[in-house]
Symmetry: C2
Subunit: 614 residues, 2 copies
Amino acid sequence: MTIPVSPSHGTLRPLGLSEVTLKPGFWQRRQEVNRTATLAHIEHWLEKAGWLGNFSAPPDERRGREFADSEVYKFLEAMAWELGRHPDPELEARYQKIVARVAEAQEADGYLNTNFGRPGQPPRYSDLEWGHELYCYGHLIQAAVARARTFGADQLVDVAVRAADHVCDVFGPGGIASVCGHAEIEPALVELYRVTGNARYLEQARLFVERRGHQILDDIEFGRAYFQDDMPVRDATVLRGHAVRAVYLASGAVDVAVETGDTELLDAVATQWSNAVARRVYITGGIGSRHQDEAFGDDFVLPPDRAYSETCAGVGSVMLAWRLLLAQGEQRYADLIERTLFNVIATSPSDDGTRFFYTNTLHQRVLGTEPPADELVPRAASTLRAPWFSVSCCPTNLARTFAGLAAYVATSSDEGLQIHQYAAASIRAAGIGLEIDTDYPVSGRVSIRITESPAESWTLTLRVPHWADGATVDGEPVTPGPVHLRRRFAPGDTVVLDLAVRPRLTAPDPRIDAVRGCAVVERGPVVYCAESVDLPEGVAVDALRLDAEGGLADRDGGVEVTCHVSPPVDGAWPYGPARPAGDGGERVPVMLRPYHDWASRGPSTMRVWLPLGE
Amino acid sequence: MTIPVSPSHGTLRPLGLSEVTLKPGFWQRRQEVNRTATLAHIEHWLEKAGWLGNFSAPPDERRGREFADSEVYKFLEAMAWELGRHPDPELEARYQKIVARVAEAQEADGYLNTNFGRPGQPPRYSDLEWGHELYCYGHLIQAAVARARTFGADQLVDVAVRAADHVCDVFGPGGIASVCGHAEIEPALVELYRVTGNARYLEQARLFVERRGHQILDDIEFGRAYFQDDMPVRDATVLRGHAVRAVYLASGAVDVAVETGDTELLDAVATQWSNAVARRVYITGGIGSRHQDEAFGDDFVLPPDRAYSETCAGVGSVMLAWRLLLAQGEQRYADLIERTLFNVIATSPSDDGTRFFYTNTLHQRVLGTEPPADELVPRAASTLRAPWFSVSCCPTNLARTFAGLAAYVATSSDEGLQIHQYAAASIRAAGIGLEIDTDYPVSGRVSIRITESPAESWTLTLRVPHWADGATVDGEPVTPGPVHLRRRFAPGDTVVLDLAVRPRLTAPDPRIDAVRGCAVVERGPVVYCAESVDLPEGVAVDALRLDAEGGLADRDGGVEVTCHVSPPVDGAWPYGPARPAGDGGERVPVMLRPYHDWASRGPSTMRVWLPLGE
């Protein structure tokens, strides 16, 4: 089955990419851009940067960071999903060619990494903290899993199986009793087990998950929490350390827990997720507040300035929430996926799919500068979307996510079918056919027409997001949470969900010090922002104070609000006796736009959180 | 003259360490701890970490970071000032021994660095971006300058002169036309010129200052602003990049400007300073808000969470402000020095002078953990003061600062004498003798008794700090700013300044988003904080909301305020509809303590900025 994540147990069952097809709309447009523009863009850069060439280059000409191989693998994974969704002989040929180049670099014992083990290079597995060898295998295996599920036996699958066998030989019982500084092999091995049925891979994944947290890696300046080696997965109570590493590891732990029936481990990860979501997640769904170590900060340390919110961490957060959703069936996981998709995943790429944000800040104070079109850009330095980075994990991670996006729309269970994400789509699964029509998130109206149904009654479950006060199903009020419609459906039946998408003002927990006295405008699942290009001449984003009583008006794809504008008063020292509260200042209407579109009209300053003021 | 910084021109003239002696009080206590405990502590660690041993060790046994030599030099500088202040044969012998070890490592052409140029090491000057060779010479020269001024000709002075000549040979006209990734050689060479009269050193310093900013160094991930190579010193309008590098460079630029009569350059640095102080300085005087690159952030990005505020940046900020004060005579420079001394320099060391903060955060959310007593600690990882760091620039920087602290108290000019910092002290300079008695900052009362005076009238200038509303001189009200008392003083005359030290509430510029809706309690020059060890059982620092109308009471060395305590309400998602403003919550008295004493009673949580609430 063409399913990105396919547990053998769980509350909900994923649907395959052949069972859900996106129709024109918000997400299908992005998926098409990914297919028609981003894939070629990535291939161009992989060649240009030499990361593809590494597979045939002599060791001393090897280019890029130690994990550059993984970008090629993530690209292969994206192509595999695309090919499964949409046969394309030209893309197929490009895929085959790259696979052949990769296969050529594999050594006789299955080892495959262009950065280690050859003359003049560091020895294999000599730097588990930073070497990323197992991480690279993880992405190789994920690519092969995608190929196996969309195509079947294939050279890439062979390569990955040989690599996985090598990993089990070297890191299995009696071998190197350690882990990789960057989790990723863990979910990959479980997925390979699901594809091949070979329990050795599951056992190896289990070993990796269990080993971590026992201070098995060397300590580093950022501390062992950086790679989650500070405490065992089953003892931790919150996601911590490097955000991408944290959610990849947690994803692997869920996979292991589900396949081994380890409810203690599953519950531990669910608790970590809950505590992180309650205290360590930006309103966009973004995770990781620190530039220094790309890490979660302490609870409630969520400064919009320099929010790191790495695109890849968003991808990983969706991976994790999706696994927890399948395992436990709770809507809160789908709520976070929606938020992350609309405000992190959708924010990173440019409209044309050839430039990307690596980090996704929530407050841009100075005008960004256009990055060079043909040079590698340091990952977090760019204030505008850039074509490629010296660490370029995000474009390939987005590509594989967009290619498999339809998988997140719905699931099935013995009860029936559950819709988790709203997008125009056709579903045909488990004897049920649905046509979903909606221009969501422009409006909240979602029409679901039954095109095929078993004779007996079944349950259609709709997610009413946590923010959707005032929602209705067929005109009847419903409250946030899952709505279960159990009926004998017949072809032609239609259910209309209206999520009452309208602008609303959202305030932060008072413990998030960095945004005290501020509010965000949200509309449906979308976070809005103020951008300098939308402001009257001479008005700075940082001079705005939102009039909370001034109303929120839907207008031309934006939300119009009223702000007071107090031109800042400069002084020699920015601290002094408290001044009386707001002297008013000029009132101006200000158009807020979706955050995911910001910086698409050239350099601008921007803020998501607006100070409230009278 | 035993003067730490000795310009040949300027509005004010520094006094020598033989002209100002601290008497028992806030600063003399710290100076004594430095002399009696910190110096030995440093020497112990320099031996233990191998950084002293590097000077005689074979190249392949060289230990520590690339700039480890500089810690030995800063230690020598501290010893030199101490010996000048306070002859001590035992300390003199230790000093001589270390100098001999250093001298042994100098090569025939004057080159001296334990990390480069020997077999198996990178070649000399092969990594100007990160190698710190010129930086290390800078500290070597500063140590020699201290020795020359307190003692005279000496082996260390010879070594430094040979090194400086080598630098001029290699980096002078026709040589390597570059600069060091970390400024420091610039002020050092000017000071060596002042000591030796050899204009070649001044010219070399001028070259270094002029070269920087022309993208002469390789680009790095943090961008060239990190080492101020983004734009020429005379074009920049604000301090930026790595904070220590920024203020060291600016100090060197002031030195060059003063000695060459380059008022454009001096004005440029003064403008950079003004703009930084107005927008990029913490209320403590601390600079550098970013952990990642230890850098100034954008204007008004001053989060108390993870404030970097490196101790060394505080030292450098005092160096810079002192140079600007001497050059231009404006009180604002002394105001910032005072703030930085009391809230950064005084905060770093423990009471016993053997543990240090490397960074000086303004908000500690989780209980710190006691660092190991006998291991190197990563610099910014410690949440409590630590004995030594893998990058241990701060302890030695504090040691040389404390040893030369008396220099900042007063200056002279043709008009008379200016008192800048208030501490119990005896001054005997320019035919004027003063006994200053005060328990400042406990109280604001400063009694200045004339013990010696020229017959003709002269001006005693007193600094009334910018915060000192309500100050009096001999009972007469004075306003913040310099107070000039021009008289025929006679021995026995006494002037009493009362700075009306009492608690006050200070609010931030509204553009400092991170502390919106908060206030700080200050008292005189001292910033206060709330610390968990002072709170009633079960009350968390982050639950406090300060009642701005509740009064501020001086009590037992602290300031008692009234806070509302609202136990935090946990939820699944920390954003939601705005809740009505403060429901009150329990009112409790809370004792605030000086920030510089925080974490001296074991692990605690702490905040400087308190949210206001009803």
